[in-house]
Structure formats: structure tokens, C-alpha cells
Subunit: 254 residues, 2 copies
């Protein structure tokens, strides 16, 4: 997809299973919303969340980051600007390549089921129509090269992460992203805790085309600045959006 | 690197440990040479092979596909148009992502050792010079998404391949390459045996930007044509180049 990452500095992570703040006005100044979460997330509350965001800020780009294929449908795909799919460098094989090939195999095998039944599949037009629809879906995919650095997190648990990468290894994964795998995004994920600037500094040395994103524990202007000054292109702020809108607003660069 | 895959239909795989045919004239009409092999290959015989090719056909592009980091040096990197690095979809984690991150971590950590000692590393210029040199190296990398389909082959053995992909899975891996990992090449490898057109047909449906390459057991004009008609952009011919130059010449499309 053609999201213009150059203009994105502040990203808000919205969990569809958590209540939204009293007003969405706090989102003024954020550049992108990522919708996704694990516990209690459904396709239905994902759609409701996307609709609420769309009503409040019609031009704010929205990515879905699904934790489960049940969270995705042709309706969610149509509603968002992109579907973010992580590949976890320091996880198990399944979460870097296994599930991905399974997904694409399913997409190729049963495009009608994956994409809803609205696609007219009649006679000889099956193949070309289905392949076109797959093209539409895959154009919305945003690959994210991930390192998950907080071992005591749901993200580490589900993706089989048993060891943190050293800063040298984070730099290696960043260079692999830039030079080999070609994901548009490299994501340093400290999910739920603040990791400081060291990994971001290590990764930033090698990233030119790739957007460097950091998420985890940003709950003040000082932390937001520290990570951006270390070389992150964008910070992701999640928890305090739901819990503490005033603190959340502090993390948006002026 | 900027290899023009559009013009490449016939690729010759040359093993530096095997004797070259009496004359290299048989290469007239091939579009690219890949130099690489496992047993008895050294950096020295790799260089000698590249030099012999360069003398005979100065404008023929040459890729090195190293099986071991001992086969690579700043001299080999300088001598070739690109360094092909496979990522094996149906192998183990190490051969899709593990060794790759290790390589890039080493490159980032010790650029002088990886790239030879000729880089002037003096004072504050270390960082920028080294990062530039890494850029030069990484620009030569050609990522190849591989499926290894002959279980009784050295390629399957070293990359931990225990099961063949079905044609549906080959199509899924092809779609993953096109839409997610972004390797410029998708390679169906039957190394040492002829796999027929089925996997190539399955993969070709989903590949537009990615170059589809087939290798394995092509030893006649009929097999070469069958694979190209099934949708391969290029065929790789190896064994008979060394063993039977007349048969090799038959595989080159007129």
C-alpha cells in the first residue's frame, strides 16, 4: 500500500476491546492509528472502532494489526488503509515465515472464502477475478520486521520469543530488513515497558528506506523525545490512550 | 543490485570445484552465470572460475551463490555483479532468517574484517566509512526465496528441508515473495532431478514483479521448453554444462 511514512511521527495503538476515551479529540496531532489487540478482540469490535475513528477524523490513516485471522474480513480490509503483518526476527519459525506461507497458501487456494462471497466467481472468470482480488488484498499488506524485546509480554509469548536481541543483533535485524527482506517498517517492540534509546540508536544507523518504529512504555514527553532523538521515525503510544488521555496528549510532538 | 532480469531466460550454474568444459564457447546464448557449489569449493577456485568467465565473455553477468562464508571475500564481491543469498521457505528457521540475521549482525559489528582490511578506519571516520562500505556490500545482495523440492539433495540436507511443498504451498510461498518478503527472485529448486512443470505453473499465477526461476534436471530442449512454457522466467542448467557440453547447448533457447 502507499502510506506516506515520511509524515508519520506519532502513532496511536488502539485496542478494540478497551473502552475509548470520553472524547477522541485527544487524537488531534497523531499521524496514524493502528487498531489491534489480543484478548476479547473480535471482527465486530474492530469494525466499530474503525468506524468511530473514521467519524471523528475522516482523513486519519488507519492500519489494522490483526492478532488472529478471525479479526479480519473483507469488511475490515475495505475499511482500513492497510493490514499490518509482523514477522518476528527473534521468535520461532512460525512467526517469521510459517504462518505467513500458510496464510498466503490459504489466500491462493480459497480466495472467495478469504475475501467474502461477494466476488463473482463464474465459469472461466474464476481465475482472473480471484487473482485480481488477491492483488487488491496483498496491496494492502504492510510487512513489519519486528524484534520483541520485553520477554514478559503477550507479544513475546505468542511469537515464541525466548531471548532478547542484543543491540548488535537489533542492528543486524535492521540491516537485514533494509538490505534483504525489504519490509517497509522495522519495529522495536517493548510492549508494556520502556526500553530506552539504545536499540533504536543501533537500528537507526542502517536504515534509510525502512521506517524505524518504536513502541513500549512511552508515557511522557521526555520519553517520546528521547526515542525520536535516538533516531526513530515514529513512536507508538498505546496504553495511556485508553487509560490517561492527558498523559497521552503529552506524547504527541508539538 | 540492478540486474536486468527481464532479459534473462537461460542461466548456467557453474561449480568452481568441477573442471570447466574444453571450451567456454558453449556459453554463447546463456544470459547469466551463477557460480557456486558445496564440496571442495574455495574462495580461490571461485575467483579463478570468475576470471575464466570474464576472459571468455566480458559482458556476461555473474552472480556468486556462496554455500559458506569462506567462499566470500572482498575480492569475490568486487569480481561479481551480485551475491545471491537464498532464504529457504520449506527449510528450518536458520535457513530462512537465523543465519541471515547472524550475517548482517557480523557485517554491522566488524565491517573491516568482513570487507577486508583495505578500508581506512581512522578516528571519527570509522563509522561513516564503514557504513558506506556496508552499503556497497548490501547493494550487491540478491535475495532468493527458495523452495527445495528434491529431498535427497545436498540443498535439502543443509537447509533442513524435510518435506516437499505441495503445488498449493509453492503458490503460497510465491505469493508471500511477491506480496510480503519482496525478494527479487523466487526459485523452485529440484537440484539433480527433473520436477516437471506443475510447481512452476502454480507459482507463476501470482508473480508479476518477482522473477520465477526453475532449476533441476534440465538436460534436453524439450524439458527447457516445458518449464519456460509453464511460466518460468528463467531456467538454470548446471550438471550438463560440466559433463556434456553438447546436451548443455541444446538447453539454450534459440
Amino acid at each position: 500500500m502507499d502510506l506516506d511514512w515520511d509524515g508519520i511521527t506519532h502513532v496511536t495503538k488502539v485496542d478494540p476491546a478497551k473502552p475509548l476515551p470520553p472524547t477522541l479529540d485527544v487524537l488531534a496531532g497523531t499521524d496514524l492509528v493502528i487498531v489491534g489487540g489480543s484478548d476479547d478482540v473480535t471482527e465486530r469490535n474492530t469494525i466499530e472502532t474503525i468506524d468511530a475513528l473514521e467519524d471523528a477524523f475522516p482523513s486519519l490513516p488507519v492500519l489494522q494489526e490483526p492478532y488472529d485471522s478471525d479479526h479480519v474480513s473483507s469488511e475490515t480490509i475495505d475499511a482500513v488503509d492497510g493490514v499490518a503483518v509482523p514477522a518476528v526476527y527473534n521468535g520461532n519459525r512460525e512467526h517469521f515465515v510459517g504462518k505467513h506461507v500458510d496464510l498466503f497458501t490459504e489466500v491462493g487456494r480459497k480466495p472467495d472464502e478469504i475475501l467474502g462471497t461477494s466476488i463473482p466467481l463464474v465459469g472461466n472468470r474464476i481465475t482472473s477475478k480471484a487473482v485480481d482480488a488477491i492483488g487488491d488484498l496483498t496491496e494492502k499488506l504492510v510487512g513489519e520486521g519486528y524484534v520483541v524485546q520485553h520477554l514478559d509480554s503477550a507479544a513475546a509469548d505468542v511469537s515464541g520469543v525466548e531471548e532478547r536481541y542484543t543491540p548488535d543483533q537489533v542492528a543486524g535485524a535492521a540491516l537485514a530488513t533494509e538490505a534483504f527482506y525489504g519490509f517497509p517498517v522495522f519495529y522495536v517492540e517493548y510492549s508494556g515497558t520502556y526500553g530506552g534509546p539504545e536499540d533504536v540508536e543501533a537500528a537507526a544507523r542502517y536504515l534509510e528506506e525502512t521506517t524505524l518504529v518504536y513502541g513500549g512504555g512511552i508515557d511522557s514527553r521526555a520519553k517520546a523525545q528521547e526515542i525520536l532523538e535516538a533516531g526513530a521515525d515514529a513512536i507508538v503510544v498505546g496504553d495511556c490512550f485508553h487509560d490517561d488521555p492527558e498523559t497521552f496528549r503529552e506524547t504527541i510532538p508539538r
